[in-house]
């Protein structure tokens, strides 16, 4: 079955849309076509959150509301969803409780960031199961910049209005929303456009594999948190787009085995967080600091590996754990170690018509320690200067195994072979035995200078992170100084 349009709900009514360009963004559609100008553009690249809207979808019979950056989301990606914007919240003359709390706390000054902030908080409130905490609010707001208010009034407004479960008219209308969404649900392969210019969204992997073989020049689109920027900033106009967002089954499955965890490439970073944290608690912070709530709601784990970014946060962690990936082309499946996928700067071992399907991550054994650290200038929503992941095997107090990977240190995410070798035999109780390995790590990489960090700083940090790892696993409480490691409690609440 094929469908030649996308379907979504806007302002309470179903919209079937065929006339849109494959690379049009949701923000363009809202502001220019629907003249819904409450949603703002502050940067067009996912950094400021002024364009935040909420997408509601049905997920396992429940309503799932997620904040997304409309500026880098392609229009076709709203298929099957309801779009909620700031204009939807107030009921007649009565502001929504979040809006009212923002007024009461003086959470809006110029008001330009306000619609996006309100929508981020709305997503938080709708998903909250109990009282919200300050760190939760900060997490929800990591992708929203405000230059006027200093944030405190906004956080206070959120603390007052975002505790769940929500009891507003949206919560009351959940069943109606689900019914409306269900009515749009089908298993059709979406294909909007012509054979030379189209937005396609196959509903099955078989359809995808076939379509991609037919159009190997098409651009694979997952969450668009990378691709969106090529369009808005690099002004590219990819004519053929195949979106993976309608795939289900293995492509979005979580298989949590005793020995290994398998994640479908299509899982959003938000959905992949919980299973990743079961591998090791350090993933909690890596995932919380990955972009913003908006980026994690759209971006996928597959996209974050497939793009081959040398500064991606997930790849080094998974390389250290010895992950493998599964690729599919037509009906051929192949597996390879994740590190082998990255050949050179932005060059990956991916054949024409092949896509990334699944990631298989062995669970660290009980006698193995794992640490991952992200170092960036700003705690939240900042690209890593350096990300180090350490997987260390111990026999008693001696290191017998080490797998170390870094991002931000080379043209691809990559391992530290010399340090791994030199680490064998380290005695945790004799810091003098650490020196060789610590020096080795500075020889493993030749990082570059850029505006984010100098080569010298990167080298130094790689060594310090290794030292921190050894200190922590040897029992010296180095956590206490981890400002970029653990949350420091707020002194004055």
């Amino acid at each position: 079955m094929k469908r030649d349009h996308i379907s979504f709900i806007f302002r309470g009514a179903r919209v079937d849309l065929a006339g849109f360009s494959p690379h049009a963004t949701l923000l363009e559609w809202l502001r220019l076509n629907a003249r819904a100008t409450g949603t703002k553009e502050g940067c067009g690249e996912g950094d400021c959150g002024a364009c935040t809207v909420v997408l509601a979808r049905a997920s396992d019979g429940a309503l799932d509301l997620r904040p997304v950056n409309a500026c880098i989301l392609l229009m076709g990606q709203v298929d099957g969803a309801e779009i909620l914007t700031v204009e939807d919240l107030a009921e007649g003359n009565t502001l929504h409780p979040i809006q009212q709390a923002m007024v009461d706390h003086h959470g809006s000054q110029c008001g330009f960031c306000t619609p996006g902030i309100v929508m981020s908080l709305f997503a938080l409130q709708q998903s909250a199961q109990g009282p919200v905490t300050r760190p939760q609010v900060e997490r929800a707001l990591a992708g929203n910049l405000c230059r006027c208010t200093g944030y405190r009034p906004i956080v206070d407004a959120a603390m007052e209005s975002c505790s769940g479960p929500a009891q507003d008219r949206f919560a009351a209308a959940t069943a109606l929303r689900l019914a409306a969404l269900a009515e749009m649900t089908d298993s059709a392969d979406v294909f909007v456009g012509t054979s030379t210019q189209f937005f396609a969204a196959p509903a099955s992997e078989d359809a995808l594999a076939a379509l991609y073989l037919e159009h190997p020049d098409a651009l694979i689109l997952s969450g668009a948190t990378d691709v969106g920027l090529w369009i808005t900033k690099a002004l590219q106009t990819p004519p053929k787009i195949i979106w993976l967002g309608r795939l289900r089954g293995a492509f979005t499955a979580i298989e949590a085995g005793d020995k290994a965890l398998s994640l479908g490439a299509g899982l959003t970073l938000a959905d992949a967080s919980a299973p990743l944290i079961t591998l090791h608690p350090d993933f909690a912070e890596i995932m919380r600091r990955f972009g913003s709530a908006q980026v994690r709601a759209s971006g996928t784990i597959g996209g974050s590996l497939a793009n081959g970014s040398p500064i991606g946060d997930i790849a080094p962690c998974l390389i250290a754990l010895g992950a493998e990936i599964e690729l599919r082309r037509g009906s051929d499946l192949r597996r390879l170690p994740l590190e082998a996928y990255f050949i050179a700067y932005k060059q990956q071992d991916r054949r024409s018509g092949e896509y990334l399907r699944r990631i298989i991550i062995p669970r660290p054994a009980p006698d193995r320690a794992f640490r991952a650290f992200k170092v960036s200038k700003r705690f939240d929503e900042d690209i890593s200067a350096v990300l180090g992941a350490f997987h260390i095997g111990l026999a008693g107090r001696h290191v017998i195994f080490a797998r170390i990977a870094f991002g931000g240190m080379a043209a691809t995410p990559s391992r530290a072979p010399q340090a791994e070798m030199a680490a064998i035999g380290i005695d945790l109780d004799a810091p003098a035995t650490w020196a060789e390995a610590l020096t080795a790590i500075t020889l493993d990489y030749a990082p570059i200078d850029d505006a984010r960090a100098s080569a010298g700083y990167r080298t130094l940090i790689s060594r310090n992170l290794f030292l921190k790892t050894l200190m922590e696993i040897s029992g010296i409480p180095a956590e206490i100084t981890r400002i970029s490691g653990f949350e420091v409690p707020h002194a004055a609440e």
Binding site: D47, T85, Q109, L145, Y151, P431
Partner: protein, 786 residues
């Protein structure tokens, strides 16, 4: 409620803002939300090089693209211009060259992002595609990136028309500076490098220009802080009369100085609209915000301070090199602010700062929240900390010993200001402000907490800084208040709003006099057709200037209403008060005439006399002319934790004691302080507009140039003192920049305190983790590492 004259009690209340409803609903109309029939969209072709000579611009391919209306270069626009340059520069004696910008580059480009051509098309996308087709042939010239290097003999020229790069030289100079150093017990010396940052309002700049044939009027909707000045620029450059030009600000999404200066696009777009005879919209994208919008802050100071044996200042001298970028839209104001604000709340007997302003091939510099003052305060506070350390004096004590006492107010400093007057601090209790802040932050028992933390391997520190801020800069602001027969109170002002709550502030002041609800008052700001004269938002001035003008205008209106009511009620004027919008006889509630009734009576009835033979209409206008700057002051304390391994800094706590005289709306004052402090946090820890050796910007996205996010924002604790200024009837001072002024000095004081065992000295802003980590490594002693 004022017993004698009636009126409300709105001043001093945290009233809900009149702006909020529409903003929260997403219904506010910002610039990019404006649409109209036939609206074309523009984009600019910009210089990709920091310095060069334009050899040719070929627009043929761009013009041929379907959907493109026009591509104009300077020569095209010149047909509707009366002169080449935009006459921007504020009069300043010290300027040696005329470097006013042009609306498009003529033959030389002097920074990456300088506009070279304007492309107009049916949509922005098409305009952008066409812009990519414009073939620019620019011959590269040597560049000046570093202002210190730019002033060396033999340095390349940043502009071919300026034989050297020293665009101005000025100084602040008083007292016996040599004597101060000769007899000094101690001298501290330091060099500081404070890097470039910007205002970065969340809404980028933008304009819509439309010329109406019928009325022969050019309207410019402009996301600006200064519409009247924009109008003056258009009148001057387009050869139009005042009647033919109207500048209107829609809702403006933040300014912070960025939108105070008239930028080239504000002329190029209306000029193109006149040529093309159709309305044009241009909205900046974020890359342009970083390259084409003014920034500020780059200053290099070499200073020394002479002290008595007991830590009292004898004198300060030094040099200040200021990076002016490629043009001088604000004359010498910024480094002058920096140099004079250095003095702060302290007694400085002798002072000489030699100021060199260097042209560089970077985006021009103009005021950014704080306008040079954070830098001056930073330098003074660092010097005091250095001296305290040397003398083993507590940091609060050295400040106490140097502070101006309340009994010395008004306190004159022999420095001449821009308007020719001396620098006079009007009011304030600086020692009390510091004492209150120390108490609130737990200064006394911090050493114990610090010791305990260090025993756990944690590095926490507490820092402090005091500062003043010159606010309420003149010369004037105008306000008119009128009530028509509908009863609607309308307030119009030359003031403008970018989020400060100016409308609420004016409504509260008028409500105070007329005893009506502020929410019922309609306030018009930022429209040149609503107020003949006005200045707008700069220098934390609008509560002072427009606030007092509104108070005077409302009072005039109230008096007129009373005279009319005296006739209508057959009472004597002295017996009348205004209560809830009704003029009534004191002590006889219910016996009165509402302002609406009076407005109707004063509207006139054909053939009948007006009550009291008054001039028609219930309205009044007033101008408030300043008689001097009013000085806001404050003390900040910050507690931070430093991660010595990564150089990361976390602000744990932040205390502000703030004195801006009488507060009209304390909630909004706090909003200004909060926003200002966070801007200062950004300036201290993250924000750094970087360029490479070729003058190419390295940090031109919000992913590379980091603004503070909510988790960075400390919990702020604000305490107020209210020392009313004698300089205006309301007793108010400005509050919009002071948060930013105090923050860098405070946070760095705390960082140095946290790392005291390593004796780290921060001399550069921002202190990003790599910067701080380098200082730590350079200083590292064995006690830190295993």
């Amino acid at each position: 409620m004022n017993e004698r004259h009636g009126g409300g009690d709105w001043i001093g209340r945290s009233a809900a803002r009149v702006e909020d409803q529409v903003l929260l609903r997403g219904g506010a109309r910002f610039l990019d939300d404006i649409v109209m029939p036939d609206l074309a969209e523009a984009t600019f072709v910009r210089s990709p090089l920091a310095h060069g000579v334009i050899r040719s611009i070929n627009c043929d391919a761009a013009r041929a693209l379907p959907g493109v209306h026009a591509v104009y270069v300077f020569a095209d626009l010149r047909r509707v211009l009366t002169q080449d340059a935009i006459p921007l520069a504020l009069p300043a004696g010290g300027l040696r060259f005329d470097v006013d910008p042009t609306c498009l580059a003529i033959d030389e480009v002097c920074y990456v992002g300088e506009p070279v051509a304007i492309v107009v098309a049916t949509t922005r996308r098409i305009a952008e595609d066409a812009a990519a087709l414009v073939e620019l042939d620019i011959e590269a010239l040597p560049v000046v990136v570093d202002p210190v290097e730019g002033l060396q003999p033999g340095a390349p020229e940043a502009r071919l028309t300026c034989p050297d790069n020293l665009v101005a030289r000025t100084k602040v100079d008083y007292g016996d500076v040599e004597g101060a150093f000769e007899g000094a017990a101690h001298v501290v010396r330091e060099t500081f490098r404070l890097n470039k940052g910007g205002g970065h309002p969340m809404e980028p700049r933008g304009v819509v220009a439309r010329h109406d044939e019928l009325t022969d009027q050019l309207t410019l909707w402009n996301s600006t802080q200064m519409p009247h000045r924009a109008k003056a620029m258009l009148v001057a450059t387009l050869g139009l009369s005042e009647r033919q030009v109207r500048v209107v600000t829609p809702e403006v999404g933040g300014g912070f100085g960025t939108k105070a200066v008239f930028h080239p696009e504000e002329l190029a777009t209306p000029a193109a609209a006149l040529l093309l005879k159709r309305p044009i919209k241009w909205v900046e994208d974020r890359f342009e915000s970083f390259t084409a919008s003014i920034g500020e802050r780059e200053q290099i100071w070499t200073v020394e301070a002479a002290f008595e044996a007991d830590g009292r200042l004898r004198g300060i001298r030094g040099t200040l090199v200021y990076d002016h970028g490629a043009a001088t839209p604000y004359g010498i104001a910024l480094p002058f602010n920096a140099a004079t604000n250095l003095i702060g709340p302290y007694i400085l007997p002798a002072y000489r700062m030699l100021i060199d302003l260097c042209l560089t091939n970077k985006t021009p510099a103009a005021p950014t929240r704080g306008a040079g003052r954070p830098q001056g305060t930073f330098v003074m506070e660092r010097l005091l900390d250095r001296m305290a350390l040397r003398l083993a004096l507590p940091r609060d004590e050295i400040r106490r010993r140097n502070m101006i006492a309340p009994g010395q107010m008004p306190y004159t400093i022999p420095v001449k200001q821009r308007d020719g007057s001396m620098m006079v601090y009007d009011s304030g209790d600086y020692p009390q402000s510091q004492a209150l802040a120390l108490k609130a932050a737990g200064w006394a028992d911090f050493p114990q907490r610090q010791k305990a933390a260090r025993e756990q391997g944690r590095f926490i520190g507490l820092g402090l800084a005091n500062y003043v801020e010159a606010t309420g800069r003149g010369p004037f602001e105008s306000v008119s208040v009128s009530i028509g027969p509908s009863g609607q109170v309308v307030v119009s002002s030359g003031a403008t709003a970018q989020g400060q709550g100016v409308k609420t502030m004016l409504a509260q002041v008028v409500a105070q006099v007329l005893d009506v609800a502020p929410q019922s008052i309609h306030v018009v700001v930022g429209d040149t057709s609503a107020t003949p004269a006005g200045l707008g938002a700069y220098a934390s001035r609008q509560a002072v200037t427009a606030g007092n003008a509104a108070f005077a205008a409302a009072t005039l209106l109230a008096n007129k209403a009373k005279i009319a009511a005296a006739e209508l009620l057959e009472a004597s004027v002295e017996d009348l008060v205004i209560r809830e919008g009704v003029v009534e006889v004191k002590g006889v509630p219910g016996h009165g005439a509402s302002l609406t009734q009076i407005a109707r009576a004063l509207a006139g009835t054909p053939g009948f006399a007006l009550p009291g033979n008054l001039p028609p209409g219930l309205s009044a206008a007033s101008d408030f002319m300043t008689s001097g700057l009013s000085y806001t002051n404050g003390c900040h304390l910050a507690e931070v934790e430093v991660d010595p391994d990564t150089g990361g800094v976390k602000i744990l706590r932040y205390v502000v004691v703030h004195d801006c005289g009488r507060m009209i709306n304390p909630m909004m004052v706090e909003g200004q302080i909060l926003g200002g402090v966070i801007h200062g946090v950004g300036m201290t820890l993250f924000e750094w507009m970087r360029y490479d050796r070729e003058g190419q910007p390295l940090t031109a996205t919000l992913a590379d140039y980091l603004l503070p996010t909510s988790d960075v924002a400390p919990r702020l604790e604000i305490h107020h003192l209210e020392s009313p200024t004698p300089l205006n009837p309301l007793g108010v001072k400005g509050a919009a920049e002071s948060g930013t002024i105090g923050a860098p000095a405070t946070i760095v004081s705390a960082i140095e305190d946290a790392l005291r065992p390593l004796d780290i000295r921060v001399t550069q802003l921002p202190v990003t983790p790599p910067q701080l980590r380098k200082l730590i490594r350079d200083a590292q002693s064995s006690e830190l590492r295993p």
